[in-house]
Amino acid sequence: MTNADWTRVNELFHQALELPRDERGAFLAQACGGDEPLRLELTSLLDAHDEANDFIEQPATRPADLAEAGVSADLVGRMIGHYRIVRVLGVGGMGIVFLADDTRLGRPVALKALAARFTKDPQRRERLRREARAAAALAHPGIATVYALEEFDDHVYIAGEFVPGETLRDELGRGPLPASRVIDTAVALARALEAAHDRGVVHRDLKPENVIRTPAGDVKILDFGLARMRDLPQPGAEITAEGALLGTPAYMSPEQIRGDAVDFRTDLFALGIMLYELATGAHPFVGSNAASTIARILEIQPPHITDRVPAMLSTAVGLGDLDRIIARCLEKHPDARYQSTHDLVTALEFAEAGGAPKARDLAEAAAKRPLRRRALGWWQFHQAAASVGYLAMLLPLWLARSWTPGVPDAVLFLVGLAAALIATTLRLHLWFAVRELPEESGAQRVQAGRWIRLADVVFVIVLAVSSAFAFQGHVEMAVLFLTAAVGVLIAFAIVEPATARAAFGRPAPLDRLGAP
């Protein structure tokens, strides 16, 4: 057949495919016009097409999940040691996970059968035992417990706590979570990580598939330390990079991808990716295939979550804090991330409490939150009242502008006007910042606070001097000025620091910055 013939075959083939099956014969007979070889060629191709089904539809480079699952299906109902296999829970990079019945202790377990390639070498197996021991030593409500390392018929199994619920991956399938829920989840995960990291156990394969949300709403991390076993090099082998590349690269840290030394900060990176996903519904780095994902993890700075969350969620309390925390976790260089998991926990707790000082006790923080909102109201009221008071005092100052022998008219008034405008403008600005830019409001309060304090002092002086001048003939006005000066003094020395402290929890910047 020549290439021209093939072009013709192509045309007729696709035309025939458009037709219902029973009309194709007639169509071909007519279209081929007596060219019998052409008709036979087309008929056989159409037959093959009907049979093709999934022929070569699964690429040769597809991960081996299905092959392993296919092999495992006939194990259901059988006994492995004293475990009765109930069903397949999943297939991972290391092997198959079954739900099994521990017939000795009568409890359900997740039984992970490790693929032979991870366990063949005796030295690898020895390290596997050691890693399992380390993982079994982790006791934390946020970590699925490892019960036992079992060896039956030359196969290695890890029996662990069976955690019912759905994975974070399932949860992600329904879209992003509100910021407050992301933060709650983040605190729980970070605490679990902290418990493991304190014992020197690094997860190394943290991803939404490895986190389960129980029906009670708690989160549990699965497979702690197991990734380590997977990546163990053969004794004497030079590279761990190959090992690190098993499985999906989407949650790998840059150092993991490069094959550099990996420590707990790799878990922080993976956690950052998960939190990003939970908050925005989108993975920060994932590309259309593994290679592009890898390149993006190494090179791309993901957009702020505040730019990616749906508009209706974007003003949520805590989102700004969360954005900063996630960005810190996602730093390319481990040295730029949190330098201890405890720091991360602290930062998250801080965000959870809405910018309050480190809340050791979550319940306590939760109890405080409504109070703080009310306190914030008082602070705002104070700012507004102070502003109105300043502006109101401008009228008597204007009336008194020429009662100043020896001083040009209106100088005092103009100084007072300037101070009042500065103080008022900055207070309104702070009000706005606290409402709309909560994540920046701390810095704003420090900066603006300095000038507000200066303007307050100047205004008090103006009032005091005006009062002194007014005593010659305008006693009632003098009293008014004096009273106002004392009022302002009380307001900024006592009331404002108190409301600020109540609203923001910290020693208020306005208070601290009173003196230069």
Partner: protein, 169 residues
Amino acid sequence: MVEDVYAELRRMADRYVRREQAKSVQATELVHEAYLRLLKDKSPRWQNRTHFLAIAAISMRRLLVERARARGAQKRGGHQVQVTLDDALLVGQAPDDDSSLDLVALDRALSSLAQLDADQARIVELRFFGGLSVEETAEALAISPATVKRHWTIAKAWLLRELQRTNSR
């Protein structure tokens, strides 16, 4: 360039086999890793990742077919490769006889198809051996996804028929 990628994939596959003392290599691992190594190589020979994947597909085809052929030769002749579990991991096919795929025969049929229609053979290479999606294939070949689908449909039918003929012979 193809040679570079191929050599890299080969070396890695061999090392895996030696290291693991098993014959199983997940093809995706190889491709990730080859990509990484070549990424470190600063010379801008890779225009983009599609370009890389397109080249990796050629290498993957050679690697897989070569391994299948070696396995077949071990079993004293006969090109029908018995697919073992390890091979199944490699090829991503369930190891029951019906669906086991004769990679050597597929390779030969694909070469014949290339004589007839080079584009169609290339599409199969990219999609089956390279794991590219329809869209990525279209991008790599600078044709429309619709054209890729049309070509893919008939190429599949043609290849299946060739394989059936080989088997019945």
